[in-house]
């Protein structure tokens, strides 16, 4: 049994029940007569306090055990309802598996995030990264669970593609070592699974992808990675308003369940970032704000002096500072901005009757900016081809995508969640490199 499970069934545990834990030593204090070892098994950020008394201490040389040692402890539960931790283990048997070399970099004292980024293979052994990765795990599974319970088919869009889905040009090329094109043509790492998901939505109605996507972004920001995971639902017979409702309900469900199932980790993260739980609960309790892009522009104009980029006008792409200001200062919570000018959005979005905008939405959240981007897709073959021509997008590689409009097309809408940004939002962590185990950014691959 894991430590998490033990703590969950606290009400039914009896004094003197036997328990075994396999894990790693987190702290070791006391003397030769009584020692307190705390041990973690990775199932929770909480530790088990193990009390050693008498000859077991000297026999196993417990005083010399250092942080990070792997071990197996056996003993009897002692309930401590009035102590900070609800129970402890009275040690009866201990097996030491392996100790740590002297240069072990993880120590009880605080270390900086910069330092920990240099050792991604070891940083998960801190309370912070243990908490982040447990929350990340929960969010990933809750997303799968939500979609499965709502009859979505999980589909694998290809990673290696022959075309650039977003038309933004920031793609990574795939090659074989000899440069003799393994695929006999140029191949890219996919920037989105959406186009392929649309093909599957035209059979299965509700589908989603959950896989890695890639951008050759040279910008070194706290919000961008070259390799990140995306969740992309696509739903046939759905229009813009339906997909926004789905996004809102999905987010609220997975966040709510995660807060409920990982109380210790959320408490720990809240101790670092004291507004975290308040912010999340406020989101859970409130209706999502939906606002037209054109009204956002008007609002931002009123606050022109707050921005570096003061040229606020219809047609502009909102900068990160504008997005954050909108969600943090004006709305003070998540906000879905809808109906963007078509010239700043992708070719496949549904062209509104005003000839100016497309049925797109971005979901912006405080602290992060864009968390989700989505749209209703252009369903009219000729409008789609016309837009591709306007944008000089070559038709032939996308003939298959155009086919979908010719063969029993149903209105289709979808969105993409930057999964790491969702983890940032829920953990309150401000740098995206800290919410993925081994971050990849321009100029650097660690391990």
């Amino acid at each position: 049994m894991t430590l998490k499970k033990l703590l969950q069934k606290l009400q039914t545990i009896k004094e003197d029940e036997t328990f075994e834990l396999k894990g790693w030593l987190i702290s070791n204090r006391g003397n030769e007569k009584i020692r307190f070892l705390t041990i973690n098994d990775g199932s929770t950020v909480s530790n088990l306090q193990v009390v050693a008394k008498g000859e077991i201490i000297q026999k196993n040389n417990l005083s010399s055990l250092t942080l990070g040692t792997s071990l197996v402890v056996n003993g009897k539960i002692h309930l401590t309802p009035n102590a900070p931790q609800p129970l402890e283990l009275i040690l009866e048997d201990i097996s030491l598996i392996n100790n740590v070399d002297e240069d072990y970099p993880i120590q009880k004292k605080e270390t900086t995030l910069d330092f920990l980024r240099e050792i991604p293979h070891l940083r998960s052994r801190t309370n912070l990264f243990r908490s982040i990765m447990l929350i990340r795990n929960s969010l990933a599974f809750e997303i799968h669970k939500y979609f499965q319970e709502h009859d979505f088919l999980y589909m694998a869009s290809p990673i290696i593609t022959s075309n650039d889905g977003e038309g933004a040009g920031e793609t990574l090329l795939v090659d074989d070592e000899t440069k003799d094109y393994f695929f006999k043509q140029k191949a890219f790492l996919g920037v989105t699974g959406q186009l392929h998901a649309e093909a599957y939505a035209a059979t299965f109605k509700n589908v989603y992808t959950f896989g890695p996507t890639f951008r050759a972004e040279n910008s070194h920001t706290s919000r961008h990675l070259a390799e990140f995971w995306m969740v992309e639902p696509e739903v046939a017979f759905y229009e813009l308003k339906d997909i926004i409702k789905l996004a809102d309900d999905l987010l609220k469900t997975v966040i709510n369940n995660t807060i409920k199932n990982y109380p210790d980790e959320m408490k720990f993260l809240n101790s670092i970032n004291p507004n975290l739980l308040d912010t999340l609960n406020k989101f859970l309790e409130n209706k999502l704000t939906v606002i037209e892009y054109k009204d956002v522009v008007k609002k931002l104009m009123e606050f022109r002096d707050s921005f570096e980029e003061k040229n606020i006008h219809f047609g502009m792409d909102l900068a990160s500072e504008h997005e954050k200001f909108l969600s943090e200062k004006i709305v003070q919570g998540p906000v879905a901005v809808i109906n963007y000018p078509k010239d700043i959005k992708a070719f496949y979005m549904y062209q509104n009757d005003d000839y100016q905008t497309v049925a797109a939405f971005d979901l912006l959240v405080p602290g992060i900016g864009e968390l989700i981007g989505g749209s209703q897709r252009e369903s009219r073959y000729h409008k789609l081809v016309h837009r591709m021509n306007e944008l000089n997008i070559s038709k032939e590689p996308l003939d298959w995508y155009l086919d979908l409009r010719r063969f029993g097309y149903a209105p289709s809408s979808g969105f993409g969640i930057g999964f790491e940004r969702l983890v940032m939002y829920v953990t309150g962590v401000s740098n995206i490199r800290d919410v993925i185990p081994f971050p990849r950014v321009a100029g650097q691959i660690k391990m």
Copy 2:
């Protein structure tokens, strides 16, 4: 409500209950007085029979509707307990969304798999691919569910890496278009997530990855893809026998739940491949056979004349024909072969006391051959370094991996499931290109 959900709650449905279905037309027969439309919504391989009578037929020109048309039907349920299908819908209202152009390639008559491989964006609209992809979805979710229920942490191993995890050299290079190395060094698409998963197992004890992996395999076989998905659990404090037990239990649980939850799809697949359900049930009911590699060699020697490769000897890598013969003819079911010669296995595997073998296992299944490969990992720092030296594996890029042995290492074991091979096994499909939406192989990227 989806059609699948409707059929699942058959016992509680009342005559004349109203029902709406959004989907696509599968067949259309009858005359101007009565017509039978069958409609599929992608939730199941089963269709809904819709009966249209009287003026609704001519008003909506139903006789002209062609296969593939997207539509919404409303009507009242009529229970038909004595008919092949348990219920039908008496049509009251129909909205035609979009029809299909004349060159629609999916027709009611059978088409070849070769032909369908040319149109991966449309082939999911056949009963076969609808079934395969629904089963694939089920297997994926059941895998996540199994691991979550058993306290495993889902972790994202990186896709882009600086080293070749298996040491087999069949890697795809990642570049930016300008060849000015985006990552400032050579970068590859990962062949395994295992090494990184080991780092996380050293914190979280039980972890798993589920993501795409890549091989620049030039062999055009029915069992290989350049891009495929792998499931890789890694468990600290586990030895070889424990991880084999995990593999067996995982497979049996996910297969059993899938058969139970997708009876119509399994029935359809069994109609194409009449041994399918028998084979799977036999696996579910029987204890997994475990056999030493050295005993396999002895066994195969007895059947030398059955093979193209007749030079059967200790030290050889089993060819696909040997693996299949072992599972299909000798064991007649799945078999775990253990303790392979170290020279045909990867550097990181635990070296047995005989100095000849490593604590590895391959799980072989009839019809497919290798479904799972795994091992106990070498836990002894010096043995691991020694083996890397023997194999001329450069130490520096793997210093981080070696670190794990120096810092509180616990015995760790894991395996990788080729997810598409599992889908092949459960669907009875013999070509791996038919169990992934958009297959990628040497020399070819479709869409």
